[in-house]
């Protein structure tokens, strides 16, 4: 933390000095305290441990074919990892599908390593198979850090995914009538102390899209966007989304395209 936290604390103290009024000051103290906390977390993100593990998995021969993933085409050509995540999801001609980083990894594991990926799809989050996929996604996302988000809707199937994702964003169901838009369709809202990005705006979509995969301090786990979406739907009281299903890719496409031009900040660190 050091310099960063010290600066945030100084800012917090200055803010307290400027604002009068007991209520305003209370509110300000809370917000500034949380801000200082979040700043302090950024230095030394345990996500780096998962990036290291993901890189090892990428390079290590595995599966019935005893092959590595080094030949995997993430959209920029076989083996090219740097910058690939910033352009995902995208349309892939070989599968004739729009894929995000995690569904693409399944394709590569199946094609290159001969692995039956259904087990990876079915595995629960937090178990070794899912953890491996997420470590890989963390490594791949880290290789796009600071690059601009640049997804294209030029292919008709990419356009369709975007539009279906947009429609899904507003789809209400379940005993609580929740849709994604219930929480992520307005400016400046919070659940408890958690700020909710408005995914319909570029800034909001960027806040949501560009910081996952992220290390969650509450659980000490590394979460990918697929896990993030899975838990959103759990709390929406929906049935469980199938890992890497079209719906999850569609929502990802909606977020990523809305965030176009913003900067990839993965891997992040979150509450």
């Amino acid at each position: 933390m050091n310099a960063r936290l010290a600066a945030a604390l100084v800012a917090a103290l200055a803010a307290v000095a400027v604002f009068g009024g007991a209520r305003a000051q209370d509110k300000d103290d809370t917000a500034k305290g949380i801000e200082a906390y979040r700043e302090a977390l950024k230095d030394g993100n345990p996500a780096e441990l998962f990036e290291m593990a993901g890189e090892e998995l990428w390079n290590k021969p595995a599966g019935p074919k005893n092959a590595s993933l080094q030949g995997c085409d993430l959209g920029l050509g076989p083996g090219k990892v740097e910058g690939a995540f910033a352009q995902l999801p995208r349309y892939f001609a070989d599968t004739d599908k729009v894929q995000d980083v995690e569904s693409r990894l399944l394709t590569c594991m199946s094609a290159l390593q001969g692995i039956d990926t259904q087990e990876y799809v079915d595995a629960r989050f937090g178990t070794p198979k899912k953890n491996d996929l997420i470590a890989l996604a963390t490594y791949i996302s880290g290789a796009s850090k600071d690059k601009p988000v640049a997804v294209t809707l030029a292919h008709p199937k990419a356009r369709q995914m975007y539009e279906l994702g947009k429609r899904m964003f507003f789809f209400q169901a379940g005993p609580h009538d929740f849709s994604c838009a219930t929480c992520h369709g307005e400016e400046g809202r919070r659940i408890r102390m958690q700020d909710l990005p408005n995914i319909m705006t570029k800034e909001g979509a960027a806040a949501g899209w560009t910081s996952w995969p992220a290390y969650r301090v509450s659980s000490g786990q590394m979460w990918s966007m697929q896990w993030r979406l899975n838990d959103c739907f759990r709390q929406q009281r929906f049935p469980e989304p199938i890992y890497a299903s079209d719906m999850t890719v569609a929502l990802s496409m909606y977020m990523a395209a809305n965030a176009n031009g913003s900067t990839v900040a993965t891997p992040g660190i979150k509450r």
Binding site: K166, R167, D177, S179, E186, R190, R192, R237, P241, I242
Partner: protein, 213 residues
């Protein structure tokens, strides 16, 4: 999703199309890409815990509110009114005639965001999720802002029969006064029991509740 649910979802979707009455001529969105959307839903969810894909089946309110363009259009104002009336008609008033229960229990229910997810056990009591979106007792600094502050609720609104009735209706079925409110329908959907609703009422409207101190 099993076949029956799939059919139910498609049926709801075609209802939406009919109600949009040709207003939707775009190539995307409700009415235009219903088949692709239903196919995607069917292929993308699975049963987990006690939660089945049956939950994807929308009621009329949910279907209406899932098309924000339609829901906020002038043309649909009459439809929104009809939805509010239908939701108001569903409200069950307290069977013992008492509006207020125990505010302390109400505070516990308001704090809890649990229940009805696929990871919750069948015996898990549902919470009210209230603090997730509302400020209530000012002592709780960790509160959401999706809904308005309810601090000092009775002091600001008063404790008349009229206020009791409106507040009950809002909590029991939030869509009774606002067709596409973000708030869940705690009574109508069976999230909270009658006594739990009375406890939440007390948290807001009992003069002894910290909310009104």
């Amino acid at each position: 999703m099993n076949r029956r649910t799939f059919c139910a979802v498609t049926a709801v979707l075609s209802l939406t199309v009919a109600s949009a009455a040709g207003a939707q001529q775009a190539s995307w969105g409700p009415g235009a890409d219903d088949t692709a959307f239903a196919t995607m839903l069917q292929a993308s969810f699975r049963n987990a815990g006690r939660v089945t894909v049956e939950r994807l089946k929308q009621d009329e309110t949910q279907a209406f509110c899932s098309d924000p363009q339609l829901a906020t259009s002038k043309a649909a104002a009459k439809q929104a009114e009809a939805i509010e009336a239908a939701n108001l008609a569903s409200v069950k008033w307290p069977s013992d005639g008492k509006w207020l229960g125990d505010w302390k229990s109400g505070e516990r229910i308001a704090q809890s965001g649990r229940g009805l997810t696929w990871t919750d056990s069948p015996t898990q009591a549902s919470g009210g999720n209230c603090y997730n979106c509302h400020q209530i007792d000012a002592k709780e600094i960790s509160h959401g802002t999706i809904g308005p502050s309810l601090h000092q609720y009775r002091k600001l609104k008063g404790g008349t029969e009229q206020v009791m009735r409106e507040t009950w209706a809002k909590i029991y079925n939030s869509k009774s006064s606002n067709a596409c409110s973000n708030m869940p329908r705690a009574g109508h959907m069976g999230i909270l029991k009658e006594t739990e609703l009375q406890d939440i009422m007390a948290l807001l409207l009992d003069p002894e509740s910290p909310v009104n101190k």
